[in-house]
Amino acid sequence: MPGVEPVVDIRLTESPRELRRLGARVRAFAEGHALSAGATDALGLALEEVVTNVISYAFDDTGQTRHEIHVRLARDPGAVTVTVTDDGRPFDPTAVEIDRSASSLEEVEPGGWGIRLVRQLMNDVRYHRQDGRNYLELVLYTEEARRQ
């Protein structure tokens, strides 16, 4: 699409306030690439969950060191690929076991819903650790890919 950047880089600090800025950038990216409302919602929610996890749990030094979270949105034919990198403690969300046993309010315990959402919202989730950084790649197939 002419005039629309195929790749967008967003750099965030570990402040919860950054999530609103991220959400606005994701919506602008989705609008620029004419993504469906469903794809836009899926990207927004998945990224909210991933970056919330990073902000909440990745860093041990409670604000003593400035950290940067890097989000890259890339539009390819048939897919959007999102890469989130951070220099926090190693964490592989693809290796987390999801407890699906609760069937009532009494049984359910809060936790794990964010990772479960990300796995359900995205078509592919991949993780690797390199040079002291976490790399999480989320792939969402867009409508034209599903039709092929």
């Binding site: 959400g23 909210e48 809060p110």
Partner: protein, 122 residues
């Protein structure tokens, strides 16, 4: 700032003398929004110890941190013998609840009549 980025708000729609609690949430229940509203929401719902209906029609975005707030309130009210019913969530909010596995665990109603009937255990 457009409507979808507005701060989260809580409106209390029931009167103190009512035998139920009725509140409405508006805005984004994301990390920031939930942090802003969590204590107020708990004091206006759980602390009242009454059957509770939470109107979610104005919630444009629900993240897992917001689900945690809703589930914690519902579980706490359950310990007092009261039900908490979510009223009229938008499609994206309902979808998120379903994907998190909470669609059949939380009580969800599409109309006020159904919500109050469910909250009273009828």
């Amino acid at each position: 700032m457009n409507a979808s980025e507005a701060a989260v708000q809580l409106r209390v729609l029931s009167a103190p003398e009512d035998d139920f609690t009725f509140v409405a949430l508006n805005g984004r229940l994301d990390l920031e929004g939930t942090g802003e509203i969590d204590l107020q929401f708990t004091s206006r719902t759980v602390a009242q110890r009454k059957p509770t209906v939470v109107d979610l029609a104005g919630v444009v975005f629900l993240a897992s941190i917001g689900m945690r707030m809703l589930v914690t309130a519902a579980k706490s009210l359950g310990r007092y013998g009261h039900r908490c019913v979510l009223l009229n969530p938008r499609e994206n909010v309902r979808d998120a609840l379903e994907m998190a596995g909470l669609g059949k665990i939380l009580l969800i109603a599409s109309t006020e009549n159904d919500a109050f009937r469910m909250a009273r255990g009828q």
